[in-house]
């Protein structure tokens, strides 16, 4: 049944640190690599080596430019570039589950992971329509809906070394920007990280109650004064020619006729 469970025993999910993410897309690639060979149908590509390549991905990294508002102390603040990985947020109130006509989409009671039973999926696409985050993509080769499984085939997999029993994206992140754990347990490392850094929900107004949290970028350091020791050496040497060259420049300017594009003295 595609009714949502009233509550789940645990709320497994990801915490993504937007301050740390460097936008390398390693999580995108490792996700595609792991999930194309394991749970469910492979993640197909269309026209992969042609003029218009596209494919199914469960995790994508956007980049946003944030222009902070001017303040009296910072009248002209510099823009920041924020890399923004986005995958399924395993919402508590997941609209993608309840809209499913076949019962293929479901949320697990034991850990809150939202999954698709691909054998029951008719590929109507309605779950993707209902997801505000673009977390679900219909695989064009297989005709079924694909989504992040939180690497359900890794996190409980006793054939893997314990260090690998986390989602592929978390394991691979070279910046340590992705964290995995139980967000339903206030004592867990991820919950404490969210509390400490003020983790936020995406589109809270949608009422989906996402489990995954995003840690906002920290404010950038502001330097009070110029401390660059090389700066004095880089100051312009001459503002304009003086002496004989200055006189020549002015005299030539006075002559009739159009001055060529580059004035010899560069003083104008």
């Amino acid at each position: 049944m595609t009714e949502l469970p009233a509550s789940t025993n645990r709320k497994m999910g990801l915490v993504i640190d937007l301050d740390t993410c460097v936008g390398c897309h390693a999580c995108v690639i490792s996700c595609k690599g792991w999930n194309t060979e394991n749970y469910g149908a492979p993640l197909s590509d269309q026209d992969a080596y042609g003029a218009d390549p596209s494919g199914t991905f469960l995790n994508r990294v956007h980049s946003f430019e944030v222009q902070p508002a001017a303040t009296p102390s910072q009248p002209d603040p510099a823009a920041q570039l924020i890399h923004f990985p986005k995958s399924c947020l395993h919402c508590e109130d997941a609209p993608c589950v309840t809209v499913c006509p076949t019962g293929a989409s479901y949320k697990r009671v034991e850990d809150g992971i939202v999954l698709v039973n691909e054998d029951n999926c008719i590929g109507c696409g309605l779950c993707a329509w209902s997801c505000p985050y673009g977390a679900r993509e219909l695989d064009l080769a297989e005709g079924v809906m694909k989504k992040c499984t939180l690497c359900v085939d890794r996190i409980y997999n006793e054939n893997l070394p314990e260090v690998d029993r986390v989602p592929s994206c978390v394991r691979t992140c070279p910046a340590g920007a992705r964290h995995f754990g139980d967000l339903g347990d206030p004592e867990s490392q991820v919950s404490q990280l969210v509390a400490e850094r003020g983790g936020v929900d995406l589109m809270p107004e949608m009422g989906t109650k996402p489990v995954n949290k995003y840690l906002p970028p920290r404010p950038k350091d502001q330097l009070d004064e110029q401390i660059d020791v090389l700066a004095p050496l880089l100051a312009p040497v001459t503002q304009g020619p003086g002496g004989f060259l200055g006189w020549l420049d002015k005299a030539l300017d006075k002559l009739p006729g159009h001055a060529s594009g580059q004035s010899s003295g560069g003083s104008t």
Binding site: T2, H62, A128, P216
Partner: protein, 295 residues
């Protein structure tokens, strides 16, 4: 949203078909024999044709039967069940009218109710989606129902009634457009709520995740033809409601010309309704576009 031809055909044709079935079930016109056969043939061709077209956009149409199982939570499932129930009940009612010259009143009323319920459940598939503010309005089911009922009245030959119903449906359509144009802004969802970034400053989509396109952009960020939206709205109103009303009120003597006029009215209404439905999809903006800096 991508205006898939299969979905536009489905909602337009089956809306009309179930509208006609509603009037037949109510007994307007209370026809029997061959005349009834023609009416039911048209109604079933539209309703079933529309339903079949809707399966073309499925990734796995061979599993379509599974879609009847989740009626407790899914409007799509409820729609499937209502449609099958309406077609079965009205099928029995039609057998009575065509072959036995019988008018099984209770069955007809039940069938009419189920036919309207089918149109309502179809509209709720779209209305329930918070992700598409232009659809997530109480007016959406009113649009679907008023189109279906006015088109049904037109097909059922209820001339004087259909003039008023067409006027009402045209008014609903205008109200839907007026409210829908403000829906996205009114939803409060912006690139800032989508990303949690920006504070008092501004946020701009700087770089998409991929240089190419993807399923999300093809399905949800459809901008082709939006620049013609105003012209298409005028066309939809004129063909869907204006012209049919003119055809209906023209004073005609001969019954042949009268039938011809009615046929023109029906065809014009169908084209207008299809244009309106195309706009319904093409103008609908999904919030996921915000992540791509697009609408």
């Amino acid at each position: 949203m991508h205006p898939a031809p299969s979905v536009i055909l489905f909602t337009t044709l089956s809306g009309l078909g179930f509208g006609l079935l509603t009037f037949l079930g109510l007994g307007y016109p209370g026809v029997t024999g061959w005349v009834a056969f023609v009416f039911y043939a048209i109604a079933y061709a539209l309703a079933v044709g529309g339903l079949l077209a809707s399966t073309f956009h499925l990734g796995r149409p061979e599993r379509a039967l599974k879609a009847f199982s989740q009626w407790r939570s899914s409007w799509l499932s409820r729609e499937g069940l209502c449609a099958v129930a309406a077609l079965l009940i009205m099928g029995l009612f039609a057998i009575g009218a065509i072959f036995l010259e019988r008018d099984w009143r209770l069955l007809g009323l039940l069938g009419a109710g189920l036919s309207l319920a089918t149109v309502f459940t179809t509209s709720m598939i779209y209305t329930q989606l918070k992700t598409i503010p232009r659809w997530n309005m109480a007016l959406t089911p009113v649009v679907f129902l008023s189109f279906s009922i006015s088109g049904g009245a037109l097909l059922a030959g209820q001339e004087s009634l259909s003039i008023w119903l067409l006027l009402a449906a045209g008014t609903v359509q205008l109200a839907y457009w007026a409210k829908g144009d403000k829906a996205f802004a009114a939803s409060g969802t912006t690139i800032k709520t989508a990303t949690g970034l920006g504070g008092e400053g501004t946020v701009r989509a700087f770089e998409p995740p991929h240089t190419g396109s993807n399923y999300l952009l093809r399905e949800f960020v459809y901008v082709v033809g939006r620049k013609h939206a105003q012209k298409l709205r005028v066309i939809a109103l004129l063909l869907g409601f204006g012209l049919p009303i003119v055809f209906l009120v023209l004073p005609v003597e001969s019954s042949l010309v009268k039938h011809l006029m009615a046929a023109f009215a029906v065809l014009s209404h169908m084209v207008g309704a299809a244009v309106s439905r195309w706009l319904f999809f093409a103008q609908a903006e999904h919030v996921v576009g915000l992540y791509y800096g697009k609408r």
